[in-house]
């Protein structure tokens, strides 16, 4: 009985971990990247880095939408694999390490290029909670 309970608990934990990891990371299936990257793409950053980015909020075509701004800081739900068992799209410093298929994945994919972060949170006093105020 005790063994059965332990097994049940172990499988429940395994299922929970699998569920969490499934929802946490971007993946190769672009049909679901919009959801998968919603949180994963908002990892924090600090200092100058040679690599950056991660699977982020999927989709594109929001170039004319100035209503929101990227959140600075916060680790995001990174970590474990995507839909493919064992596949992890979280590269060094949160960059997107899988083959990019959507715009934000291209923008944040892992690279050897130098980059220089711009810290919106500390440098833009008028940016409140990531929201851009209306133009004067």
């Amino acid at each position: 009985m005790l063994i059965h309970t332990r097994k049940t608990a172990w499988f429940a934990a395994l299922a929970l971990v699998s569920l969490l990891t499934w929802t946490a990371c971007g993946d190769d299936d672009s049909s679901n990247d919009s959801d998968a990257g919603e949180d994963a793409g908002r990892g924090g950053r600090s200092g100058r880095a040679g690599r950056s980015g991660s699977g982020g909020k999927g989709g594109s075509g929001d170039d004319d939408d100035a209503g929101t701004a990227g959140k600075a800081g916060g680790a995001g739900k990174a970590g474990a694999g995507g839909k493919d068992p064992g596949k992890n799209c979280e590269g060094p410093e949160g960059c997107y390490s899988c083959e990019p298929k959507e715009t934000l994945q291209y923008l944040n994919h892992c690279t050897d290029s130098e980059c220089e972060p711009f810290d919106n949170a500390t440098r833009l006093p008028l940016l409140k909670d990531g929201k851009l105020p209306a133009l004067p």
Binding site: K57, E93, E116, F118, L124, L126, P136
Partner: protein
């Protein structure tokens, strides 16, 4: 709609008037030749100042070649490329335009007093980004040429290295009220106007209407470089220009890394601020890029009607083989543009969604070697030299994947 067009026409008239006055004042020293007296065939074009260096370099090669084509280009602003083909307007080029001699010397010529119709137009943005253009006019073709970028620039003495889309929103949307230090002086925020391709790109990326930018209108890419470079307060000055203009003036201005919305870091077009490989454009990491749009009247089959324009646009879009003594690929690369065959991504529309892209005849290795001076690709003289890995085809002296 008409008011915008009239405003643009007024600007053109003023520019033409200023050019005419300048031409008159300098007549004693060097009178401009009449454009119509230049070697035939002539091809007249109009559009953005960003493309002027490209047409100058290509025009020089063509002038010196067996083609004997003379390219005359007026650059009052990108969206004049649309006005030139608007059936509701009888748009003609007046004042002065530029052409280039076979030795590379750029000259100015006097357009006919009655004006002359442009047979091609050129700008970096698609038609619908221009004010009040809902779709490309019937009977006009839109042909895509080499890739160009829009770059935020600061004086080389500035300590700034990057800018975000959100920061650009405050700098160019709020000006001195934006609190986006150090760019808070309206006199040192250098902008263009809503007929400028680079301003239309910044507007689209940052979410600021192109007609509502704060700062000083520099009128041309060249002026933007000068105003930023000559700023009295090097830390407070900022502007934006086309990538080829920025690259050709690295001694005085520096490109900032750009961080788009939801991007985790800012990137330069190149892998480092000092290189020329444009790898971050070619692979989609740098956001502010697009193809050159070339316009001309077309027939029912989509073929350019004017023969000279058909050749010129064909050389740049790849649909017409250039004369044997003109290497368009080298001209494109030397001007700071990226040939489509060197791209690894494509996009749908102005700053639109990205997708993977593999050219039919890739030239990425050759591009890297020519633009940055080095490449890790294997050199070859034929396919037999390309035996290792996936790069099995010898193109332009380097092993490519196809």
């Amino acid at each position: 709609m008409k008011n915008f067009r009239r405003a643009r026409i007024a600007v053109l008239i003023l520019a033409a008037g200023a050019s005419a006055a300048l031409a008159w004042s300098s007549r004693a020293s060097a009178q401009n030749v009449d454009c119509e007296t230049l070697p035939k065939p002539l091809v007249y074009g109009v559009g953005g100042s960003a493309q002027r260096p490209l047409f100058s370099k290509l025009g020089a090669k063509l002038a010196a070649s067996s083609s004997s084509l003379t390219v005359v280009y007026a650059s009052p602003g990108a969206c004049f490329a649309m006005d030139a083909f608007d059936p509701a307007e009888d748009y003609k080029l007046t004042g002065t335009a530029n052409y280039t001699l076979g030795d590379g010397t750029e000259k100015t010529c006097q357009l006919p007093a009655a004006g002359v119709k442009a047979t091609f137009g050129s700008m970096q943005v698609g038609p619908t980004l221009c004010p009040n253009v809902e779709k490309l006019f019937d009977g006009v073709g839109d042909f895509l040429g080499p890739i160009s970028t829009t770059n935020f620039i600061v004086p080389v003495q500035s300590s700034q290295n990057s800018i975000s889309a959100e920061a650009a929103y405050f700098v160019f949307g709020f000006g001195d009220q934006g609190q986006a230090a150090p760019w808070t002086d309206n006199n040192l925020i250098i902008r263009r106007n809503d007929t400028s391709a680079v301003q239309l790109y910044v507007a689209l990326a940052a979410g600021v209407p192109a007609s509502k930018f704060k700062g000083i209108d520099a009128m041309t890419n060249a002026n933007s470089i000068k105003f930023v470079a000559d700023a009295t307060d090097k830390e407070a000055a900022i502007g934006f220009v086309s990538g080829e203009n920025a690259d050709q003036n690295r001694a005085t201005v520096r490109t900032l890394a750009y961080q788009h919305k939801d991007q985790k870091c800012g990137y330069w077009p190149d892998s480092t601020p000092t290189k020329f490989d444009k790898i971050n454009v070619r692979n989609g990491q740098y956001h502010l890029w697009g193809p050159t749009h070339l316009f001309a009247k077309v027939d029912d089959k989509g073929e350019v009607i004017d023969e000279s324009a058909r050749k010129l646009l064909g050389y740049l879009s790849g649909s017409v083989a250039p004369p044997d003594d003109v290497n368009v690929l080298d001209v494109t690369i030397s001007n700071g543009n990226i040939p489509v065959c060197a791209m690894q991504v494509k996009r749908d529309g102005d700053l639109g969604p990205l997708a993977s892209f593999q050219p039919d005849e890739p030239c990425g290795c050759y591009y890297e070697a020519k633009a940055s001076g080095s490449t890790e690709c294997k050199t070859c003289s034929g396919n037999d030299d390309c035996t290792s890995g996936d790069a099995k085809v010898c193109r332009h002296g380097y092993c490519e994947v196809k």
